[in-house]
Amino acid sequence: MNALSVRGLTKTYRNGVQALKGIDLSVEQGDFFALLGPNGAGKTTLIGIVTSLVRKSGGEASIFGYDIDRELEAAKSCIGVVPQEINFNLFETPETIVVNQAGFYGIPRPVARERAQKYLKQLQLWDKRNHASRGLSGGMKRRLMIARALMHEPRLLILDEPTAGVDIEIRRSMWDFLREINRNGTTIILTTHYLEEAETLCRNIAIIDGGRIIERDRMSNLLRRLHTETLVLTPTRPLMEAPRLEGYPARLIDEHTLEVEVSKDQNLNDLFARLSALGIEVLSLRNKVNRLEEIFMRLVERGAAA
């Protein structure tokens, strides 16, 4: 069963901007799905339509088979949404915010209080439950929105830039948390500007640009398409010039940093053998850019040129 299914979805705003130009997309139940695209590509409009914050101009959308035109209440009860912008009452406490949100989904107050404790603890906000939420840090506010979205235990969780402005430690703990709820059966759709995040978490991906889906594939398939990677090597001893490595274009950035291009059909053992033969030992190695980022940029640039 599809958690989300949209067909021919269009949206033209009153100012004439055509944000979506006929989107077809399906996300399977249980998936961890990345929806990527540059700013203004239509991601937030698509999420807005699915969550009924934006009125569509045309097309169809359904959540777990519930059509948003005919069975909106049932469709909405399946979705939890974490928006891009902070949208809770800054004068209310975290506990009040999440308990009230559960109430809007018909969860009785005693059950809501139990769930508030569970999710606020899991998202490390329990100690702040009685503080005015305006005093929370940026990362805490984002986590509060995740806790709020989970209060009715939705089957589909939509996260629009959930880790924007969150420090790396908190971000990684949020990743673990999201992986856990996905493992337990919640379908997740994630939009993010941190492509490493999408690569790490998501199994399937769609790239949207200019109101159209320009790519839709398994993450692994998409990453396999990348033919070359640039590796950044740190030699144990300073280098005066870039070594000549046949078949591996190399560039010396500074005496401690060497960049080497490696294509998909080459192997690293061969590269290291050649380096050893030249008396170069390698202290550390990393990818110059995130692989998904490289593909993303190529696809979006190709789309812009078309």
Partner: protein
């Protein structure tokens, strides 16, 4: 972590219960808001009412003598209570709903499965709640200054509730259209206040010249104040049946407009 959600369309009974919980939640949220900022929601009307009773009742009222066969203080007390109910019902909904729009937390309700009519009803109930709380506070103040007979308790309750619902709906519509805080205060200042002062709160229209009496009859607040006063004192400048008809028509018309606009997402959905 378990996932619990509708695997099939909710049954009518479960749906009804869920909606009831949602409706109660909006009211609880409004109640907490009223209490949290009590110095802005409850106190001002009680202070204003005290000043009215001191100035108009004790100082000026003694020179006016009786009105409608009652002491002046007793005569204006129902009108002052109703004035507080009107202002607070309107202000509560307009500020709460516009605040939610401005702070974007209206989205909490918009993404939830609650239908538009229930969201409107929840906000209106919040307005009625504040109207009732402030109305009771002003009544308590009034009782320090005058005895207040109760001729028709059901009429008092019905007039208060219908008036409160009417102005809560007015506040809701104002908030839907308002794009900034100025537009939130324009109607209370330039429409509501004049209509209230000219709506027979402080006088019987029988004291006015003929043309002014006829002009007063187009002011809907006149009917509300007089129906409410009739409940306490048993006197009214207008027919009580006519007053209730006007209130019921106003409630039906405004509620329909609010639900339709909410359904269309006027000013809140793009």
């Amino acid at each position: 972590m378990s996932t619990v959600a509708a695997s099939a369309a909710p049954r009518p009974l479960a749906l009804g219960r869920a909606r009831w919980v949602g409706f109660k939640t909006i009211i609880i949220r409004e109640f907490h808001r009223i209490i949290r900022i009590w110095s802005q929601t409850i106190l001002p009307s009680a202070v204003t009412a005290t000043l009215y009773f001191v100035i108009f009742g004790s100082v000026i009222g003694q020179r006016i003598g009786s009105m409608g066969g009652f002491g002046y203080m007793m005569y204006i007390a129902p009108g002052l209570i109703m004035q507080a109910v009107i202002n607070n019902s309107y202000t509560n909904v307009v500020s709460s709903f516009f605040g939610a729009k401005f702070g974007k937390h209206i989205e909490e309700l918009l993404v939830s499965p609650l239908p538009s009519w229930l969201i409107v009803s929840g906000y209106v109930a919040g307005g009625v709640l504040r109207g009732a709380m402030v109305g009771l506070a002003v009544t308590a103040v009034a009782l320090f200054f005058t005895h207040l007979p109760v001729e028709h308790p059901l009429i008092i309750a019905a007039a208060a509730v219908l008036t409160s619902v009417t102005f809560s709906l007015g506040g809701f519509l104002n908030a839907m259209f308002a794009k900034n805080f100025d537009q939130v205060s324009i109607i209370p200042t330039f429409l509501l206040a004049p209509l209230t002062y000219l709506g027979g709160v402080f006088y019987s229209i029988s004291r006015l010249p003929g043309w002014a009496q006829h002009l007063s009859l187009v002011d809907p607040i006149l009917y509300m104040v007089n129906a409410f006063r009739f409940g306490f004192l048993g006197v009214s400048d207008v027919g009580v049946g006519e007053a209730f008809a006007i209130m019921l028509i106003a409630v039906a018309g405004l509620y329909s407009a609010a639900v339709v606009l909410m359904e269309r997402g006027a000013g809140i959905r793009e």
